[in-house]
């Protein structure tokens, strides 16, 4: 079996499972946010739900429109808070404790290897980087799990993606996944599990691995996953709140197909509007002037992302009439960036530093685009109108490309800004 099949079988109490099989499985962690949890809470109460199945395993993170952007969002956050207090949830975060959910849960050790995780947020697939099965669902699914602790799943077939060789300069996890989505398309892994492997994955830090698994959903996948290794173990040490369970795909595991990539051929990528599959090398996009840059999100708001941004922005200044918004994904990333002196670099460059929030990624707040405006963003979606007006445009890239573009006022390669 593959690692995905093993985790699903274990949680369904079965010896083995095969792709296509419908199973009922126990859920380790169920997650909701300020947009999806209110509907789940209404559904929970609507069928007479009184108590969540386990107060340690239902996690509520109001991160999308927070700090509350308007009265209606404040009402939604209030509903989440009241439910969390009523149910005495262990993992409820707000104010100075809240961060972007998919950065916050691994950081706090709430999600560990071997878990089965569902979240009413499509980027729940991020935790696959720890060797967990983790997938996005809707509010009704979340409500059902809050009551029963179980959910039905269709076992997905797995496509294996193997990355050979060394990463080129300025290339990170974000570029691997953008390149892959550019290759297979936004429905290239529809209903399937993506298993990422190969020496290049092994050399990525956990931050880079989270970026890869985070965007599996942008290829239509049910989940993205990586086998745990020493990097995973080290990350979980002094962090995991439950003992991790390390699973690996069998040598004879059956894959629907295997895709192989030579990393020597992968340059920093940009996904042009309006789909993540519209990828090009940043050096091939031509002169595209921009109005805004966003560095942050569950894809690229971690410390390694801020480190490379600071490296590019050091002794540079954001171009005239371009807004650079930097959003550390969690309070502890925020503090670490400050202590490492990155804030000094960002402020000298002319950036705005936002508190942790999903904010502009989904066109919520903290950097909305006017008609015709263009943004380079380290987020995960460039759909039409995603960050604001329907005639605005989003170009997805890694943090180094985003920072260099802010300096140049157009899409730019980091080498144009950082002299060797």
């Amino acid at each position: 079996m593959t690692i995905t099949e093993k985790i699903l079988a274990l949680h369904a109490g079965k010896k083995d499972v095969t792709p296509g099989e419908l199973i009922n499985a126990k859920v380790d962690i169920a997650l909701g946010n300020d947009i999806t949890a209110p509907i789940a809470i209404t559904e929970f109460r609507g069928v007479g739900g009184k108590k969540v199945f386990n107060r340690d395993r239902v996690v509520l993170v109001p991160d999308h429109f927070t700090p509350n952007k308007d009265i209606l969002s404040a009402i939604q956050s209030k509903a989440v808070r009241e439910f969390a207090v009523e149910q005495k949830l262990t993992h409820y975060y707000e104010g100075g404790d809240v961060g972007v959910e998919h950065a916050l849960l691994p950081e706090k050790g709430i999600v560990v290897s071997g878990d089965l995780v569902i979240g009413a947020d499509s980027h729940t697939c991020t935790y696959g980087a720890l060797g967990a099965f983790s997938t996005g669902v809707g509010s009704t699914d979340l409500a059902a799990v809050m009551i029963t602790g179980e959910l039905w799943f269709k076992v997905p077939p797995t496509i294996k993606f193997v990355y050979y060789g060394k990463l080129n300069k300025w290339v990170g996890g974000k570029d691997l996944i953008l390149y892959t989505i550019g290759d297979i398309g936004v429905d290239g892994a529809l209903y399937k599990a993506m298993e990422f492997a190969g020496e290049a994955i092994g050399r990525l830090s956990m931050d880079g691995r989270f970026s890869v698994c985070n965007m599996a959903v942008e290829a239509g996948a049910k989940s993205g996953i990586m086998e745990p290794d020493e990097v995973t173990r080290k990350y979980l040490r002094n962090r995991a709140e439950r003992p991790p369970r390390f699973h690996f795909s069998d040598p004879g595991a059956i894959y629907e197909s295997t895709m192989e990539y030579d990393c020597a051929k992968i340059e920093p990528q940009v996904a042009l509007p309006h789909l993540p599959e519209n990828t090009k090398n940043v050096t091939d996009v031509g002169n595209i002037p921009i109005d805004q840059v966003v560095i942050g999100s569950c894809t690229n708001g971690r410390i390694e992302d801020l480190k490379v941004s600071a490296k590019v922005l050091r002794k540079n200044r954001v171009a005239k009439n371009v807004r650079l918004i930097i959003i550390p994904a969690t309070p502890s990333i925020y503090r670490e960036a400050m202590e490492r002196g990155y804030f000094d670099v960002f402020l000298k460059a002319g950036a705005v530093i936002s508190p942790p929030t999903c904010g502009p990624c989904l066109g919520g707040h903290m950097g909305i685009l006017a008609p015709g405006e263009r943004a380079v963003s380290t987020t995960n979606r460039n759909f039409m109108g995603r960050m604001g007006d329907s005639t605005s445009e989003v170009y997805l890239a890694n943090p180094a490309v985003a920072a260099a573009s802010a300096v140049k006022g157009r899409l730019a390669h980091p080498d144009e800004v950082v002299k060797p």
Partner: protein
Amino acid sequence: MPMKMRGTVWKFGSDIDTDRIIPARHLNTSDPAELARHCMEDEDPGFAGKVKPGDIIVAGKNFGCGSSREHAPFSIKAAGVACVIAKSFARIFFRNSFNMGLPILECPDAVDSTSAGDTLDVDFSNGIIKNVTKNKVFKANPIPQFMQELVRAGGLMKWIKKRGMV
């Protein structure tokens, strides 16, 4: 949920994402009337004002890709749309639709042969789609037994209640 429906077709392309179905700027509410008013507004600003109860959406591949927001199928249902037929659906949208009772069918042939304004007869119980305007009949991909059970129960929450799991 009614198993048989007749309606007029609204045709959309491929990869219609959840931001086009209901932009995030409207996710500060789950009020059905409000979500219905903004359904598809960035894709076709006139849609919400013109769509009639019982109309049918026909779209290309990967309909509903992107976010997990249940507001997407919710806004379509609240706008009065009786059924969505597409070449394929993004998986969270697919799941959400069954869970909250929006009938959806996958049928690439029917999508290719159907134009905006056509009249369709759809029988959800056997997946038979008849294009009345063009006098053609199609069969949608079969719906797994378990999911039919969910629909018959009236959605996931009613299903778990029926099984005494609450």
